[in-house]
């Protein structure tokens, strides 16, 4: 799941989630895997890119419409994960909802 995704039909939407973790795993990695699998099953889900180093994690999910993003935000299992995220896993995070207006993919020969 942690590789580049393709481009999609314009316009579509990106949710940029950037986070700084607390110490320790505390069930984070198991839940993160579950949420990626569950997101893949949702209506309008296009793809997901994720990277984490010692300072910062960035996860971007791509969706067809804003309504799809709202439905995923309100999904019961995702709500549980969001609550634990605030209580346990993240010292801080930012969330941005964006409309993708242009995209470009480069592959070397």
């Amino acid at each position: 799941m942690n590789n580049l995704v393709n481009t999609f039909e314009i316009p579509y939407y990106a949710v940029i989630f950037a986070s700084e973790r607390t110490e320790g795993d505390n069930g984070y990695n198991e839940m993160a895997s579950k949420m990626v699998a569950l997101a893949n099953e949702q209506k309008g889900f296009l793809g997901l890119e994720s990277s984490r180093d010692s300072n910062l994690g960035i996860t971007i999910s791509y969706w067809k419409t804003l309504e799809d993003i709202t439905a995923w935000k309100n999904h019961t299992a995702h709500q549980v994960a969001q609550k634990l995220g605030k209580e346990e896993w993240y010292s801080q995070f930012s969330l941005r909802i964006c409309k993708v207006e242009r995209d470009y993919l480069f592959k070397s020969k």
Copy 2:
């Protein structure tokens, strides 16, 4: 530079750059530092978040307007870096220009 940036006045723009690297440094890290410093000096630059793990790197820069993004794309020193990126540093990358419509920042107590 690799920590969370703040939220900004809506709307603003995000450039999502996701990349897979070639083997070796080949001058990449020195150039990356220079480009971050140079981006910071550009008109309309708001901030930058970056994370890289063994699979994928994601760098997001935030800008006031689309014109600011175009000016940065066309900056002479940045053009040199873009050319080297395609020739030397990246096996593939994607670039997405997005309008940020909503943002949210969480900090634990």
